[in-house]
Symmetry: C2
């Protein structure tokens, strides 16, 4: 029953969806709808029908569906950042901290009782299939200027800093981490849909375990 909520970038929304029931409904239902039909087929009309509201009402919260997607994704990375802080707490060596942070990223997410209106597992699936679409656009520079990618950059930077501490001479901590983050997001998708692109397979739990080991090996083989 912790009463925390994330304060996200105000450019993301017209009205904060966390402060009203309709807003929370929009978040909850957009997660399940995007998870179900994919972002391409997702429309505010379909969402409005699902929550028995109107398109116009949804538009009062989000300028367009792209901003809504970025909102969800930013929420996810802010959540990861928060979980990483917990996981890395009290660990003394940068190696341990790095491993703990990495583990947070590469594990199957469980529902977090702190956030009642977010289905974290569905959101993780959305991040895997849709995250890249938030920045692979022509407006990336404008969106970036508005700070829309800060949560992801924060997570990456936190891990890159630990790498730097493990080996201050290593020249590519950011490149290495963003490479690993990309892979962490894609390999689970490959395992499911394009298995010839990966050697990872088996049950979900096993998938994440193997993926974690793969990523850990890459990192430590590179920086030692």
């Amino acid at each position: 029953m912790t009463i925390i909520s994330f304060r996200l970038n105000e450019n993301l929304f017209l009205k904060d969806p966390q402060n009203s029931e309709l807003g929370q409904n929009i978040i909850r239902s957009s997660i399940s709808l995007i998870d179900e039909i994919g972002f391409e087929h997702f429309t505010f009309k379909k969402l409005a029908d699902k929550i028995e509201s109107t398109e116009a009402s949804v538009y009062r919260y989000f300028e367009n569906k792209h901003r809504l997607l970025v909102y969800l994704i930013d929420w996810y990375w802010t959540w990861m950042d928060y979980k990483m802080d917990f996981a890395m707490q009290n660990l003394l060596t940068p190696e341990d901290r790095l491993r703990a942070g990495l583990k947070v990223i590469i594990e199957e997410k469980k529902p977090d009782p702190n956030f009642a209106f977010v289905d974290e597992q569905a959101l993780q699936r959305i991040v895997m299939s849709e995250f890249d679409k938030t920045y692979l656009t022509k407006q990336v520079d404008l969106d970036n200027k508005e700070g829309l990618f800060i949560p992801y950059k924060t997570v990456c930077n936190k891990l890159a800093c630990e790498i730097k501490k493990v080996n201050p001479a290593y020249q590519h901590p950011h490149t290495l981490i963003s490479t690993i983050m990309l892979s962490a997001n894609h390999q689970v998708f490959y395992a499911k849909h394009l298995p010839s692109l990966t050697d990872i397979n088996g049950e979900k739990q096993v998938t994440y375990q193997k993926l974690y080991e793969f990523c850990e090996a890459i990192i430590f083989n590179s920086i030692k």
Copy 2:
């Protein structure tokens, strides 16, 4: 003077665009238009206006814009495959072959006189920003069944085989290669638009050189 052309998967098109002037025009102009405005804003109407034809005529070649994008991307990976075969020719050790293949992937593309109606540099930019969108969809399994991702998988597999030859005991050749391929596509984008995610910067030539060295190091540190 073209004496070669790639025979692409027939599921990609309704009528082969390589066999007519309008078809070639569609390819040429869709590359420049997608490069210019991005795939999201690209429509058959805009393309038709650009080539002074009609929407209906474009639809005779491609079922929809997604298939057209996959066509372009498949052409690119088929081209990469072809170039890799050349580059790896006559090299005897798997290490050398791996390096040569990787170099083909990670270098700034030059216009190839073999293919008059393709702007290879624009196409490379399209691959960097749009490739992931071809498979991060709800129809991925259907598209995969139709063989739409074969060219990419072929390229990945070719490199993974060399890894296996370098070190037959290495357990993750496919995972490693698809990780590197992802990174190769994204890091150049990061360098330009999200520089805090990478340590790579500087002039284009330098960017590719640094990126190549980074990827080579990851690979050989992992498999040795």
